[in-house]
């Protein structure tokens, strides 16, 4: 038994299965982060006072991290483009770059968190920090998930390039769509938490 449209797109929808699947998954992710952003709006508008992010958080490190994540999105596209041009060794370099940049993001985030803990700032400190730690923490988990998936596709998963290159290229595209989404969430988080 073969499930149709795992690789080639279906004629009338123009999609292969996983591509529709990942868009639906991302739609649900939009609702997840949307609910958190809405909660932030509701808590903030209901609060008598709300601190400015830049007074308590390190906006310079966060700016650096924003650049890191955007770069990782660029290398992710390049990884996919390399596969489209049948250049597997370049793909390895670009996807490896994406993974390293993602790790760099987490390392920076780790230093941010520990610095805040040293200052005696915890999620329980105030509603603002509750929102800050929860949203960046959940985003960090998404980064971690992306590293695991990309790591698999860089390492053992890459064997599929030999047996089924079209399907493997699809997989990189799917992983890329997810990665861009995670990047996009940060692009919303950064100004809302650090700059407002």
């Amino acid at each position: 038994m073969q499930i149709p449209y795992t690789v080639a797109p279906r004629q009338d929808t123009g999609l292969f299965n996983a591509k529709l699947g990942i868009w639906l998954f991302l739609a649900s992710e939009v609702m997840l982060f949307g609910a958190l952003f809405s909660s932030l709006v509701l808590l903030r508008t209901g609060a008598p006072e709300w601190p400015h992010g830049w007074d308590h958080l390190d906006w310079k490190l966060a700016t650096f991290n924003t650049i890191v994540l955007i770069s990782s999105s660029v290398t992710m596209v390049m990884a996919w483009a390399s596969l489209m041009m049948k250049d597997f060794s370049k793909f390895r370099i670009y996807l490896g770059g994406t993974i390293l940049l993602a790790l760099l993001f987490l390392v920076v985030k780790y230093f941010e968190y520990t610095h805040e803990f040293h200052l005696g700032i915890f999620p329980s400190t105030s509603a603002f920090f509750a929102v800050y730690f929860t949203m960046t923490g959940l985003h960090g988990l998404h980064i971690l998930g992306g590293i695991i998936v990309n790591g698999y596709l860089w390492g053992p998963g890459a064997r599929m390039w030999k047996t089924d290159p079209a399907r493997f290229t699809n997989r990189i595209e799917i992983a890329g769509l997810y990665w861009h989404f995670v990047d996009l969430v940060w692009i919303f988080l950064f100004p809302v938490l650090y700059l407002l």
Partner: protein, 583 residues
């Protein structure tokens, strides 16, 4: 896929070890059966919790007979249930029935088993995700059940887990949240899978207006699950943060518990939890009801031997219902005093959403008109669904309007209302589905006489449970009373109904016994069934019985709309979707 390839696959199937074939199967039919059996067990378990509560409501302060001593000194000293235990039973009854019973049965079991067959697909689009979805559901169920054994017992803040009560509740609430995260993951994987399967794996010629209505219902349901559950997941994460690391998402400032001011930072909003919860839980109502309507539509078309009346209007009504269900949630929250403007908005949307529901129900009723009805067991359940759901729906209208809702909201009226929708509504439809598709799944028919005993007994007793709730509710009896209203002034005139309802609930259990016996007995000993025992038109009946791995022997091609019954001048009274038009 040609015949030879399928046969080759059958040979391959034989060598799968037991645990691959039945336990960690990736076949949508096996997973559907796993979902079905697990959710039926949970339904029975959730019902058992309620039977215990009904004892306390009818005979407060008296030891529970037979089983009272099983619950330990902490929960039921001397066999008498303590209020904390009653609260656990109440919270877990709701949680189990909705999230572990009805939805997994309606979507996980029926959706998984039937959708690929009805659209002519060899399997679901992502078989591995499908298995992961079931096992995530199973894990969530185990976590929920384990919570009964942690200190303080299971979650006891109601199935809605309103903050701040839930934030300061015992440890069981944390387990509830963890269990919910597994269940939400399961539903996410399942809904993505169902949508992709329906859109991508349709057989040749199966365009959207040739879908059996069941497929449409499942498609809209899956979109609701996909988009409405994540906000509850976000809320669950926030409540987990509140409970575990001491944040104050849902904790207002200056809260005093048992004379002690709480030390948390405050600044949170208990109403925020309610908004996020009902943003899921209102669409969830349609998740409960749409698959049921889908099953009823299949059974009615098949047993009236005529096409559904107004197929297109039902489909459009369902899509509209799906959209509207996202903007009615706050009609559950009129009591929070959220302001007249917001109330007016949600009252309006609520009145609007009743229109597509009425369209669907009316079309199903009109489908009966002029048919030569076969009153088989599935048809009895499907027919009973119509007035029962009608009562549930119509009694909901006063709850959608703030002036009446404020009087009725905290009374038994609400309990009666939504149980009419879900119990004699959805669960009857699910029974109809079980009797209807059982021959395809097992190759044997269920016994009709036992089925009729099950149906008539259930129909009568279930009305004696829920109809008195309207009377008690209109009298003003609160729905949160541990003693059934013994010490409640409004309840004195209607107290006798507690015993009526409780005896009816236990009678309902007795009438489930013929079903349980029938179910297992028929798997092995039931009358052998042909491939198409009901003379049905839709694709699932064109498969071998039970369908093998890959489902169809020849790739199906669809030429017709789903319900071509009694076509004039046709040789027989049903024309399958696969039958080509004559030139």
């Amino acid at each position: 896929m040609d015949h030879v390839a399928t046969a080759g696959h059958h040979a391959h199937e034989e060598i799968l070890p037991f645990w691959r074939k039945y336990l960690f199967s990736q076949d949508h039919k096996t997973i559907g059966i796993q979902y079905g059996l697990t959710s039926l067990v949970f339904l029975l378990f959730g019902f058992t919790l309620m039977m215990l509560m009904r004892w306390q409501l009818a005979y407060p302060g008296q030891p529970i007979p037979f089983v009272g001593q099983w619950f330990g000194e902490a929960n039921a000293p001397g066999g008498v249930m303590v209020p904390e235990f009653y609260n656990q039973l109440g919270a877990m009854h709701g949680t189990i029935m909705v999230f572990l019973g009805v939805v997994p049965l309606a979507v996980g079991a029926f959706g998984n088993y039937i959708i690929p067959l009805q659209i002519g697909a060899p399997d679901m689009a992502f078989p591995k995700l499908n298995a992961a979805s079931y096992w995530s559901y199973f894990t969530g169920g185990v976590v929920m059940l384990s919570s009964f054994f942690v200190p303080g017992g299971a979650a006891n803040s109601g199935w809605t887990s309103y903050a701040p009560l839930s934030t300061i509740a015992t440890q069981g609430q944390t387990w509830w949240l963890l269990g919910m995260i597994f269940l939400i993951t399961s539903s996410l994987l399942g809904s993505v899978n169902i949508i992709v399967t329906i859109i991508q794996l349709r057989a040749k010629g199966m365009n959207f207006m040739r879908f059996p209505f069941f497929v449409w219902a499942q498609l809209v349901t899956s979109f609701l699950l996909l988009l409405a559950f994540p906000p509850l997941e976000a809320a669950g994460v926030m409540q987990l943060m509140d409970r575990v690391v001491g944040t104050s998402f849902f904790m207002p400032s200056g809260l005093v518990v048992a004379g002690q001011p709480l030390t948390n930072s405050g600044g949170g909003s208990p109403v925020l939890w309610q908004h996020l919860f009902w943003f899921l839980a209102h669409p969830e109502v349609y998740v409960l009801i749409l698959p049921a309507m889908g099953i009823v539509a299949e059974v009615i078309a098949n047993n009236t031997r005529k096409p559904l009346w107004g197929y297109k209007s039902i489909v459009y009504a369902t899509i509209f219902l799906g959209f509207m269900s996202f903007i009615v949630w706050a009609h559950h929250m009129f009591l929070t005093g959220m302001g007249t403007t917001i109330s007016a908005f949600f009252q309006t949307t609520t009145m609007i959403i009743s229109i597509p529901s009425v369209v669907i129900l009316t079309a199903l009723v009109l489908s009966l008109y002029g048919g030569s009805i076969r009153f088989t067991t599935p048809m009895l359940f499907a027919t009973a669904f119509l007035p029962m759901f009608g009562i549930g729906g119509l009694t909901g209208l006063p709850l959608g309007l703030a002036p009446t809702d404020i009087h009725l909201h905290d009374t038994y009226y609400v309990i009666g209302h939504f149980h009419y929708v879900v119990a004699p509504g959805t669960i009857f439809a699910l029974f109809a589905g079980i009797y209807h598709w059982f021959p395809k799944v097992t190759g044997h028919r269920m016994n009709e006489s036992l089925g009729k005993i099950h149906f008539w007994g259930s129909l009568v007793s279930i009305n004696f449970i829920f109809m008195p709730m309207f009377i008690q509710g209109l009298a003003g009896v609160s729905r949160r009373l541990y003693d059934g209203g013994q010490q409640y002034a409004h309840a004195q005139g209607v107290l006798y109904l507690n015993q009526v309802m409780s005896i009816a609930a236990w009678t309902l259990f007795v009438f489930q016994l013929p079903f349980i016996f029938n179910f297992f007995w028929s798997i092995w000993k039931g009358e052998k069934s042909s491939d198409n025992p009901w003379d049905a038109t839709t694709l699932e009946w064109q498969t071998p019985t039970p369908p093998g791995h890959g489902n169809f022997l020849i790739e199906p091609v669809v030429y017709r709309t789903p319900y071509e019954y009694s076509v004039p001048n046709a040789s027989k009274d049903f024309t399958p979707q696969t039958e080509p038009e004559k030139a």
